[in-house]
């Protein structure tokens, strides 16, 4: 939301060409030589056009909106952090983790230095195998946030994920072998 598609450049160009337009009215022939070729497309139609002025208000608000952008970075020091601030505002993980997917880590504790505190807490918890649901419950973080953070760690190679053994041909339902193992396990309890 913060960064407009295409980055800053088109706006800078538009802004400057507008500034130059003011000059163009007095000194049209010399203007195009001053800046790179990129600006010519913005400049030419405007300078040659009688309706230059009405465009200024449309460009100005964009300039104003860009200025507050650095604020969120400094806002990270606020101790009251909304849950999804930990995930950088993302509400969906890179891939879908089952709520009962098992997470474990064999990462060297030294590698955890420099990770986000939440990532470190998850790693420390997962030296013993835990489900995504347990991570959420034990660290008191909402399930959706836990999923994203675990997916981040998996991507960084800090945890291993064991997705539940489903049978792809049966729409993810457990296969017969798994059901038999569960049944015999329950009977032995």
């Amino acid at each position: 939301m913060a960064t407009p598609p295409g980055g800053h450049h088109p706006y800078d160009g538009a802004h400057q060409s507008q500034g130059e337009n003011a000059q163009n009215r007095f000194n049209f022939p010399s203007a195009p030589s001053g800046q790179g070729g990129m600006q010519q497309p913005y400049q030419q139609p405007q300078s040659g056009h009688p309706y230059v002025q009405p465009q200024a208000p449309r460009i100005q608000p964009v300039q104003q909106r860009r200025r507050p952008e650095p604020a969120p970075t400094s806002g990270n020091h606020n101790p009251l952090v909304r849950p999804y601030a930990m995930t950088g505002g993302r509400t969906r993980p890179r891939y879908q983790l089952a709520i009962e997917a098992l997470v474990s880590t064999t990462a060297d504790p030294a590698r955890l230095q420099g990770q986000l505190p939440e990532h470190q807490r998850i790693c420390r918890l997962c030296f013993e195998i835990k489900s995504v649901a347990e991570i959420s419950a034990l660290l008191s973080i909402p399930l959706g946030v836990a999923r994203i953070l675990v997916a981040d760690l998996a991507e960084a190679g800090l945890v291993a994920i064991h997705q539940p053994g489903g049978d792809e041909s049966a729409g993810g339902q457990p296969d017969v072998t798994l059901l038999e193992r569960v049944l015999s396990g329950l009977r032995k309890l």
Binding site: I99, L143, L189
Partner: protein, 174 residues
């Protein structure tokens, strides 16, 4: 999955057979239809927390069974979808004094095709209706097991789970 109406004993059931005290995971729901303006007036009402209790049973060195008590509120169906995807099946707990409470769960599992069993939770050992009477009342087909249970007792909960897995296995082999 352990489903059923509010207060029917889902967490009790999970706790009776789980090796850990039931844990609670929470999902924060944001009302998708809420406009930006709503935040200024009712900032605390645009999000809802859905809690779900669960337990775990280690069956083997590399096999862990998780029991999820479904959120009681019917309107959070989408969370059920998430759970149903890889679930073995569901135990639908029923309090026969409030039979209608289990209708949404029964409807849901019938539609989703997830194997389920009906477990009549007899509070204080009371079972005012027989399983066959309940089958009639719920219009449940003959294939779905209906058992009696006491959610407070480990042996009963374990037996209900065994019935469910047997049923799920039969359904897969059919």
């Amino acid at each position: 999955m352990v489903a059923g109406g509010f207060g029917v004993g889902k967490t009790t059931f999970v706790g009776a057979v789980s090796e850990i005290n039931p844990l609670r995971t929470e999902a924060v729901m944001t009302s998708a239809s809420a406009g930006i303006d709503d935040l200024t007036h009712t900032g605390d009402k645009t999000t809802t927390t859905v809690a779900m209790d669960f337990g775990r049973i280690t069956l083997d060195q590399d096999l862990i069974l998780y029991l999820f008590g479904t959120p009681g509120q019917d309107r959070f169906w989408f969370m059920w979808d998430d759970l149903v995807r890889d679930a073995i099946g569901a135990v639908v707990l029923v309090d026969t004094r409030r039979l209608a409470d289990c209708f949404p769960a029964v409807d849901y599992f019938e539609n989703s095709g997830l194997p389920f069993v009906i477990a009549l939770n007899g509070f204080d050992g009371h079972q005012p209706y027989t399983p066959e009477e309940v089958r009639e009342a719920l219009q449940i087909g003959p294939d779905t097991p209906i058992i009696t249970t006491d959610a407070r007792h480990r042996a009963d909960a374990k037996s209900a789970l065994i019935t469910l897995v047997e049923h799920a296995l039969m359904a897969r082999l059919r």
